[in-house]
Amino acid sequence: MGNLLIIFKRELLSYFATPLAYIFIVIFLVVNGFLTFDFGGFYARGQADLAPFFAFHPFLYLFMVPAIAMTMWADERKAGTIELLLTLPINLRDAILGKYLAAWSLIGIALSLTFPIWITANYLGDPDNGVIFAAYVGSWFMAGAYLAIGACLSACTKNPVIAFILTVTICVIFVLLGYPFLLGMLTGWVPQIIIDAISSMGFLTHFDSISKGVFDVRDFLFFGVFIAAWLFASAVVIELKKAS
C-alpha cells in the first residue's frame, strides 16, 4: 500500500469519524430531493429523465463542495498537523492526491446515494440509462472541479472560513462563464473567438452537454485538466508557504 492510499484511507475515515460526512450526505440528499421534485417539477414534466435532477447540481455544489474543501489544508495548518504530515517521508504529490481523492470520494458517495431518483425514473418510465450514467459521472467530475479549486484555496490560508468564501467566489465565476445570459451580454461587441474561449472555460457549457446526453470526451477532459491544474497549483502554494 503506497502512501497515497494510506493518506486517502486516513482522510476518508476521518470524515466518517466525525458527524461531518453524515451531515454532508443527509443535507445533500434532502436538498437534492427538494430541488428535483419541487423546483424541478420532476413529476409534472411527464418525462422519464433526470434533467431536473442534474440541472440544479452546478448551484448545489456551489456551497456544498466548498464546505468540504475548506478544511482540507486550512485545518491541518491551524492544528499544526501539517507540520507532522510534511515532515513524514511522504511525497507532496501523494499527500495532495490522497486528501483530494478522499474528499472527492465523499462527494461520490453522497452522489451515488441519490440512486432512488434513478430507480423512480425507471419505475415510472423508460429513460435512457446511458445518458443518466454519463450525467452522473459528469456531475461527479464537475464536483471534482469545484473541489480542486477549494483544495488550492484551502492551502492558502489557515482560516477555513476565508477558504470557503474564496472558493465560493471563484466557483461562481467559473459557473457564470458558461451562463447564456452573460454570454448574451457580450455578443455583438466582443469578438466571437473570445466569447467562445470564455464560454469554454465555464462549467455549465461542459456540464449541460454531458447531462443532455451529448457524450463528448472533450467535456470530461476539460474537467480532468481543470482538476489537475488546480491540484498542481495547491502543490505550488504549499511549497511557497515553506519558503515564505
Binding site: 499544526g80 498537523t81 513524514l88 511549497e239
Partner: protein
C-alpha cells in the same frame, strides 16, 4: 551525522536564523537553548524540512533535506512544537497510520505500535480519541510517533512541556536510553533538563549561536563557578578576612537569605581550600560550607542578554 552550514531563514524583512553552522555526531544529545523567539523552533523546522531555508544547507547522513527530502525524513523522528496530532483519531489509529507511513506492513505494524505504546506508557488511552486526552498524554502520543521507526535522528521541540515531574523524569530516561548511537536534538527552556540529559548545549539568541559546549563547560563560564557558599549563624564580616587572597573576588549576599554569602572566585580558580583554612583560623561562625557549581541559568542570562540589547 547532521551537518548544518550557513543556515539562514528570513521571514519578510526579519532574519529569524542568521548564518547558523554546526554539526552533530552520533551519540550526542544536543540541547538547544535560547530565549523565546530566538529561533529554536525555526531551526528545527528547517532541519526537518517543514520550512525551506533562505540560504544554507542541512544534511542528514549525507542526504540534503531539500534535494533528497524523502531519504532525509526517513532517518528522522520529529516531535513538532505543541505535539500536533489528528484529534479525531484514537491513539491506536493514529499510531497505526504513522507506522504505515513509516513503511511498516502487516504484523510489523502491530509489533511497532505495541512497542511504542509500552515505551511511552500509553496503553491506558490507546482506544481514546486524541482530542479527549490531557496535555501530558498528547505530548506522549507525539513522542510515540516520533520514535516509531527507531530513528537515527530524533528532533524534539520541547518534549517535556506540559508534563508533570514524574512524566518529565520518564521522558528524560527515555531520551537517555535512546541516545547511545543516535543523534538527539531537544529544544527546551528548562535548564535543569540540559544538565540532566544533554551531552552538549547550544545557546542561540536572535538566530545566532552565542555559546556551544558541554553543560559542564558552559557552567564554568558562570561567575558562580567554583564559588564557595557559606551560611553563618551570626553576623560576621567575611570580606575583611579575604582581602589578601588574590584568587577571591567579591562576596555576595544571597538575595533571599541574609545569612548566606557567596564568595566568588576570580577566573574560575579553585578557592575552596584557601577559604576553608581562613574560616578555621578565624573561627567563622559557619553552619554550612560548600562549593557551588556554575549556574547554567546565570550563563544563559549573560550570553543572551547582550544579544537582546538589554544591559
Amino acid at each position: 551525522m547532521i551537518e548544518i552550514n550557513n543556515l539562514t531563514k528570513i521571514f519578510d524583512q526579519f532574519t529569524a536564523i542568521d548564518d547558523l553552522s554546526f554539526t552533530v555526531k552520533e551519540g550526542e544529545v544536543l540541547g538547544f537553548l535560547g530565549p523565546n523567539g530566538a529561533g529554536k523552533s525555526t531551526t528545527m523546522k528547517l532541519i526537518t524540512g517543514f520550512l525551506s531555508a533562505s540560504h544554507g544547507t542541512v544534511s542528514i547522513d549525507g542526504f540534503d533535506i531539500s534535494n533528497r527530502p524523502i531519504e532525509a525524513k526517513s532517518l528522522m523522528g520529529y516531535l513538532p512544537e505543541g505535539a500536533p496530532s489528528y484529534g479525531d483519531m484514537t491513539t491506536l489509529e493514529f499510531l497505526n497510520f504513522v507506522a504505515q507511513v513509516r513503511g511498516y506492513r502487516g504484523e510489523e505494524i502491530t509489533r511497532r505500535v505495541k512497542h511504542v505504546l509500552d515505551e511511552v506508557e500509553l496503553n491506558s488511552v490507546s482506544q481514546q480519541t486524541i482530542e479527549t486526552l490531557s496535555k501530558g498524554f498528547k505530548r506522549r502520543v507525539g513522542l510515540a510517533q516520533a520514535i516509531m521507526h527507531d530513528p537515527k535522528v530524533l528532533i524534539l521541540d520541547e518534549p517535556t512541556d506540559g508534563l508533570d515531574p514524574n512524566q518529565k523524569h520518564h521522558v528524560r530516561e527515555l531520551i537517555k536510553n535512546l541516545a547511545r548511537d543516535k543523534i538527539v536534538i531537544i529544544s527546551t527552556h528548562i535548564l535543569e533538563e540540559v544538565t540532566a540529559v544533554c551531552s552538549r548545549a547550544i545557546i542561540i539568541a536572535q538566530g545566532k549561536i552565542v555559546a556551544d559546549g558541554t553543560p559542564a563547560e558552559l557552567e564554568t563560564r558562570s561567575k558562580y563557578h567554583q564559588a564557595v557558599s557559606v551560611r553563618l549563624s551570626e553576623n560576621y564580616d567575611l570580606a575583611a578576612d579575604l582581602v589578601d587572597l588574590a584568587e577571591v573576588g567579591d562576596v555576595e549576599k544571597d538575595s533571599e537569605d541574609d545569612m548566606v554569602f557567596r564568595i566568588l572566585a576570580n577566573e574560575g580558580n579553585s578557592i575552596f581550600s584557601q577559604v576553608s583554612e581562613i574560616a578555621q583560623s578565624k573561627h567563622w561562625p559557619v553552619t554550612e560550607f560548600h562549593v557551588s557549581r556554575g549556574q547554567l541559568e546565570d550563563v544563559f542570562r549573560t550570553v543572551t542578554l547582550p544579544a537582546l540589547g538589554a544591559e
